[in-house]
């Protein structure tokens, strides 16, 4: 797809954030800051429509404009910008995967995170404070050694810690002989970390908007116009749009929206809950996860302890879960980090996870020509925000996947080339 040359897409100069700008505006009592993005009317025609105004959709639009010169783009969001899973995740960024396709893709994304604040002129608060996976048994230590070695072979940092090293790294953790969940060691990715969940959406939105992308909120897609097996139009609650190419980035609603184009997908939508406690002084300096115990924790820059666990386990679009999952996470967290027992949980929420049949994402073409899909992220889409936008923009611009997402095609289930990290098989809620 050629870059826009004849199409006059107005870009506006983005008022750069800087110390100088801050000082200047302070003297003017901060009355000169422009809005971070516009609220444009929907045009009747665009070259590319991205369905979904979350981190992935906005990143895709940004990279389409920035790297491929395609600026006649609309991002349609049925709610408010970043209000879906981008507003509900637990902010972890890592690339500690076993399978090559996953490892290489997520590592590419992690490297994009490293330069993102400068690239977008927006502080996404990326903090590479380390992600530690705990091992509670000998066989887990063996498995972690294997995964760590695979990571190293893919150029990704990995360190296998023994119990003493874990105790030094996470003093808050109960690593004693009496622990309810004995800790034998862990696999550490030191370059992994966290980022501010909404800032990345705002950063991509502001940068994409400045390049001429229209971000239209409160605009829900209700259908597609398909002629001869090719998508030619998008029907929305604010009118019909003629389009050349369409990219879906709608997370938990992937199955539903793809259904408007007659597609049935290997996806089940599930609820994942997360919680934050009241803010306290810094006591947890890294991200610590336990796959076996289904509990992961970190501490936000505001001081809140951020907790998450396993899926509730049943299909859901409700964006909230039930108390058994809450009890499970609370019990695990208090058993592993006893000092947390006094903290009050301030907020809880849920997201809609598009769980695939192998636990890995789906990025690429669909049987409908010019309709592309970025979905099936299960509960791991946040870390992929810049990476998925980057490969999805390439896929839409070229009509073919990039080498980094070639293995994530929808057809892999029919051909038997599934990417199953856990080896859990075609059981979405087990991934």
């Amino acid at each position: 797809m050629p870059a826009d040359s004849k199409v006059q897409v107005r870009t506006r100069s983005m008022k750069r954030y800087s110390f100088l700008a801050l000082a200047r505006e302070a003297l003017r009592r901060h009355r000169g800051w422009p809005g971070a993005w516009r609220f444009p009317d929907l045009k009747p025609r665009y070259r590319v429509v991205i369905v979904g105004g979350g981190g992935h959709g906005l990143a895709t639009a940004y990279y389409l404009a920035k790297l491929h010169g395609i600026r006649d783009v609309a991002v349609l969001e049925k709610g408010w910008l970043g209000g879906g899973n981008t507003g509900r995740n637990t902010t972890i960024v890592r690339s500690n995967y076993l399978l090559d396709d996953n490892a290489r893709f997520y590592e590419h994304s992690l490297r994009l995170w490293e330069g993102l604040s400068r690239d977008l002129n927006y502080n996404v608060m990326f903090s590479q404070r380390g992600v530690l996976n705990l091992a509670h048994s000998d066989s887990q230590m063996d498995a972690f050694a294997r995964r760590g070695n695979r990571m190293r072979l893919n150029g990704i940092d990995a360190e296998l810690l023994d119990r003493r090293a874990v105790a030094r790294y996470v003093p808050l953790l109960d690593t004693s002989g009496n622990a309810r969940y004995p800790v034998l060691g862990g696999l550490l990715q030191g370059w992994g970390g966290v980022a501010r969940h909404d800032a990345v959406a705002w950063g991509f939105a502001r940068a994409a908007d400045a390049l001429g992308v229209d971000i239209v909120q409160g605009c829900e897609v209700v259908g597609f116009r398909i002629d001869g097996g090719c998508v030619t139009g998008v029907e929305t609650t604010r009118g019909t749009i003629e389009v050349e190419r369409v990219g879906l980035a709608v997370a938990g609603n992937t199955g539903r929206v793809a259904g408007f184009a007659g597609l049935t997908l290997p996806i089940e939508s599930h609820v994942l809950q997360a919680f934050v406690t009241e803010p306290v002084k810094p006591l947890l300096h890294h991200v610590v996860t336990s796959g076996a115990i289904h509990c992961y924790v970190s501490q936000t820059d505001k001081g809140e302890v951020l907790l998450g666990g396993d899926l509730d386990g049943y299909n859901s679009y409700a964006q909230r879960g039930n108390l058994p999952a809450v009890e499970h996470v609370a019990q695990a967290a208090v058993a592993m980090y006893p000092p947390l027992s006094r903290l009050r949980v301030m907020r809880s929420w849920g997201g809609v996870m598009d769980m695939t049949m192998d636990g890995s994402p789906i990025i690429g073409k669909t049987p409908v020509e010019n309709l592309f899909i970025d979905g099936g992220w299960c509960y791991g889409g946040f870390k992929a925000t810049p990476g998925s936008g980057w490969v999805f923009a390439h896929t839409i611009a070229h009509g073919e996947p990039h080498e980094l997402n070639a293995g994530f095609g929808l057809e892999r289930f029919a051909t038997g080339r599934t990417l199953d990290e856990n080896g859990a098989g075609p059981t979405p809620n087990a991934h």
Binding site: G259, G262, E268, A318, P367
Partner: protein, 121 residues
């Protein structure tokens, strides 16, 4: 806490149950083509709204039951014992490998779906 109306035991808390996923799929017969198996193993309707699904009452009678539950509100609309055809819920449309849905090996739609209007005591 979901309250699931087990047809054998009455209304019980969700912690007594294990989730078994979509209950509308029909296992293909042994000689069915690969496409039918692919659909059965991988494709799901995944509706936003009433969903017929399996739950196993491992903390009670130990039986599999079919529950209808709304996936947007979590309201449990009814439950019935396992057994009999799965009823309407046929997967249709264009599949990811581009072929149309296979009709072979699927039970007739709309049969025996005697959904209870409320909880089954």
């Amino acid at each position: 806490m979901l309250l699931i109306p087990c047809p054998h035991c009455g209304e019980r808390a969700q912690v007594e149950f294990a989730y078994g996923g979509d209950a509308t799929r029909q296992r293909p017969h042994d000689g069915a083509p690969d496409e039918a198996w692919y659909e059965y193993v991988y494709l799901r309707g995944n509706p936003r709204g009433p969903h017929r699904e399996w739950w196993l009452h491992h903390g009670g009678c130990g039986q599999w039951i079919r529950v209808t539950r709304d996936t947007a509100t979590h309201a449990v609309l009814g439950a019935e014992p396992a057994g009999g055809p799965p009823g309407d819920g046929a997967v249709s449309g264009i599949r990811p490998d581009g072929k149309g849905a296979e009709e072979g090996g699927r039970a007739p739609a709309g049969s025996a779906a005697a959904e209870a209007g409320g909880s089954v005591a």
